[in-house]
Symmetry: C2
Subunit: 241 residues, 2 copies
DNA sequence: CCAATAGTGTCTATCAGACAGTATCGA
DNA sequence: TCGATACTGTCTGATAGACACTATTGG
């Protein structure tokens, strides 16, 4: 940071802000869903909101995001390690919180399937909600904007990174990985072309030489795990929208 | 934002933060350069720093970024309108400012050529510095990290958006546009292929039906202006690095 | 003339889109 | 047997990489 050069500086002269983190935790099951909590306090008491909280004086903003992910989602340590967390965007409108001036640093978390929410923890009021439902209903504060930004970030990240493997779980079949793409992008892909792209991209996936049977019949599928690569060049293509 | 659900809430119980904006203003002349100001106050007095300042109580963070861009760069209104400004990333390490807890929301600005810095304004101490020099020398606070993030954002944005036209100026020849890519990416491109890509991408550029003579001989080049398109699908290709 | 830049054309390799076809499972 | 899924192969069109060639300027 840097104040306006050449002017006198007095820290107390500048308005105090509260800084929070809010986390868009996305997961792919039947459809794309987001983790929401029910607010127990004013304002917006009883409304659905993204998990999050105030940044403490002795922790960085990134650390606060990790802490809130632990405290508010009830995810196990192992599940947290398999979760991708990145900074999304900062929301700083003047009136976004009716109580006081609050700037929120939003984060995006991508995690496999639906981690079991542990009852009895701080996350006992957390629930997975279909993103379409979440956007159609009412969310506290400007959380609908934040959720929208998170979804769009996730959509574009699947294009040029291997992050879909994080959403597909510790291991997965190519059919399951394709399902992740189809659910996040909201469009169907051609099986043969999808397989060719994934298997011809070095470092995307690694075969585990085991097979998995589906529930509805069909030949058993090879199980893969995430490969060492992180970027997709050229990217996975999707129809413009 | 949302505090930890189910716990008592008292705004005064949460630590006060100062919130600043810092702007990475990039421009392409002979090489890629960044606008730096010399700090006139402690800490880091006399050091180079990114332009920026505190967010006021009655303005949004985005508004603060626009205001600082006006106040600290000495750019004319017309130049400001031709400048791209977007949020980059938020830096929130605990000890990034020795005085107090400061969270900085960094912005990236892309502007044409080197706008004349108006002496006698707040920007009288502002100067364009080669980004390599800026990164090799010392910058105040964590501004080297912020600059690095800005450069990388600019590099990737040229791949999949038409923003290079913003850096090339209100109008430009294809040679000038290619020079923007080569300077930002630090690699040379094949002329014929670059021309084909630009001209075959609908909405990238529009011919003005005027021609411009260079300084070192050569045929006069057609002058283009930015087209209505904003995204490049498929993206402009560059060698991995 | 030469150097430098603008602009065009072409061959090739790669890759995405589309789709046909075979193989292996559960019911 | 049938429905469903896994997996392979192939044709075509679009496009990037590489490079050769001509045209027009200043010196």
């Amino acid at each position: 940071m840097s104040e306006k050069t050449g002017k006198a500086y007095d820290p107390r002269a500048f308005p105090p802000f509260a800084v929070t983190v809010d986390i868009v935790v996305l997961s792919v099951g039947e459809s794309l869903s987001v983790l929401l909590v029910e607010r127990g306090l004013d304002p917006y008491v009883g409304w659905s909101a993204l998990p999050g909280g105030f940044v403490r004086a002795d922790e960085s903003v990134d650390e606060a995001a990790h802490r809130e992910l632990r405290e508010e989602t009830g995810m196990t340590e192992a599940r947290i390690r398999g979760t991708h967390l990145e900074q999304l965007e900062t929301f700083g409108a003047v009136d976004r919180d009716p109580r006081m001036r609050v700037v929120s640093v939003a984060y995006l978390a991508l995690t496999a399937e639906q981690p079991a929410l542990r009852p009895g923890t701080d996350a006992s009021d957390a629930a997975w909600v279909d993103v379409d439902e979440a956007l159609a209903g009412r969310l506290a504060f400007d959380h609908a904007d934040i959720l929208q930004a998170g979804i769009e970030r996730a959509r574009s990240k699947l294009e040029y990174t291997t992050l879909a493997t994080t959403l597909a779980g510790p291991d997965f079949t190519l059919g399951e990985l394709q399902h992740v793409y189809e659910v996040v992008w909201g469009q169907s892909l051609q099986r043969a072309n999808f397989r060719r792209k994934v298997l011809n991209t070095p470092g995307f996936v690694e075969a585990t030489h085991t097979r998995r049977r589906g529930r509805t019949g069909g030949a058993p599928a090879t199980v893969y795990r995430p490969g060492p690569g992180s970027t997709l060049t050229p990217p996975m293509m999707r129809d413009d929208q």
